[in-house]
């Protein structure tokens, strides 16, 4: 009997994933997909506002997959409606309404958002802090999980 071998690495990273966002002060840097979670690393540079302004992340933030389906004809196309996966943990950034206030415009913050592990076969997703939000919201679109960009992690 032929067994189907799953060649997807168990844990992998994508460095500098391709994506779109509206705010230049925040950078989506890396995605880490591990056993139970999808961790997304960000860098934020204060500077747009006097005294550096503030940041937080809304607890209702989610990622929504644009999962691809393999049809009977073996062609691939995106599903119309993706699945939502809500934020389960935030590292180095407070949940709103609490705020992290910067003291000056030269400060920065490295932080991570943790979501449930995305299903195998996910090719891209959106990260939404607020649907139809403005540029102050942490919204990222079409974050790519291209196969050729995946690098396995060594524990």
């Amino acid at each position: 009997m032929n067994k189907k071998i799953n060649q997807q690495p168990k844990a992998y990273i994508i460095s500098n994933p391709s994506h779109k966002n509206m705010d230049s002060t925040i950078q989506l840097l890396r995605i880490i997909i591990k056993d139970q979670e999808t961790k997304i690393d960000f860098g934020y540079q204060a500077g747009e506002y006097a005294d550096g302004g503030w940041i937080h992340i809304k607890p209702e933030t989610f990622i929504r997959t644009k999962q691809m389906m393999e049809t009977i004809e073996k062609s691939i196309h995106p599903k119309k409606e993706g699945t939502k996966y809500f934020l389960i943990k935030a590292t180095n950034i407070p949940y709103g309404p609490e705020k992290l206030h910067f003291n000056s415009t030269i400060e920065w913050r490295y932080f991570s958002l943790h979501f449930p592990r995305l299903p195998e076969g996910t090719r891209s997703f959106n990260l939404i802090e607020s649907e139809f939000g403005d540029k102050d919201e942490f919204n990222f679109y079409n974050i790519r999980l291209d196969e050729e960009e995946k690098i396995s992690m060594i524990y």
């Binding site: 990273i13 860098g43 540079q45 490295y110 060594i154």
Partner: protein, 351 residues
Amino acid sequence: MPPPSEAALRYAIIDRCLTNIYKPFPKMDDLKYAIELDLKTSVSTATIQKDIAQMKKGDDEGGYNAPIKFKRSNQGYYYDLEKFPDFTIRSLGLNEKESEAIELAASVLQHFKGIKVNDSYNQAIDKLFSSLNIKKSDKDKNFTNAIQPEETTYMRGMEHFETLVNSIKKKIPVSFIHYSYDKKLFKSIIIHPYLMKESNKRWYLVGYSEEHKEVRYFGLDRIYDPILIGKEFKENSGDDLRNLFDNKIGLSNIKAHNKNNEPELITLWVSRTMANYIKSMPLHKSQTYKEYDGAGEIIVTINVVPTTELISMIMSYSEHMTLIHPKWLCKKIEDKLNLSLLKYNRNLGHE
């Protein structure tokens, strides 16, 4: 098989008790008390008996061939020094001078304990001290206090030191997030790590950066969340590293004026006050000097790639050192001094 680390510490304490001429024939309770006091943990009599049995075993069984005997009249243990004069498991065949040299090195290592490289390092230092029996006697305390290297302060990122050194040893590429103080930008970097370099009390990870397509160095204080990754390792040619560090004071090239990073002849005037210091500890291995006026002032020449650290070094000597050549670098220092003077004038209300 080597003894486990906790046991090795107990062996060292038992050995210390057995060689203490002021309290010969230590009883089992004495050994227990000494071990518990040193290791701050309770230990059973059975464990100590096993330790003694293990110490008596030969090298091939992980022991020390220790000639431990039990004297009934004293109800205590001792080394049979008639057959093995001066026996101690610490001796390791070292003579007194060699032992002192090791103790000296250990006491220097002790000063790095505060930088929190990792717990294993601190434990290793404790173990080394314990097995060399350094920490207990007042005489040895004086000895370790006699060496005072510059204080090493904790630097952010040192918690990654062990992970990064392991990646270098095992030749495993690393993914990490880097923040540039100058550009005020983050980058996700994949590096093929070659070495850890210290410069001006800061540690740097040096390796081939896939992002930059060349060998680069990254300050540990700007590295976040390093992860070892499964990628084929890119070896370095050796030239890459030599080009990075040779002929330099510090690390940070002033690229705008020296795009090829070629060494330049740097000529400096040094006052008679500082001349002897510069003669006795050259600024760089390429340093040569000649007398300037017969009154003690000297002209120093070094052949280095101009770096920001070179500028800082020159400026740190204040009125005792003046750059003569190259002129473009003189101008750079003059600009910095003018700016600094302006700020002092403002500060003192001389505008």
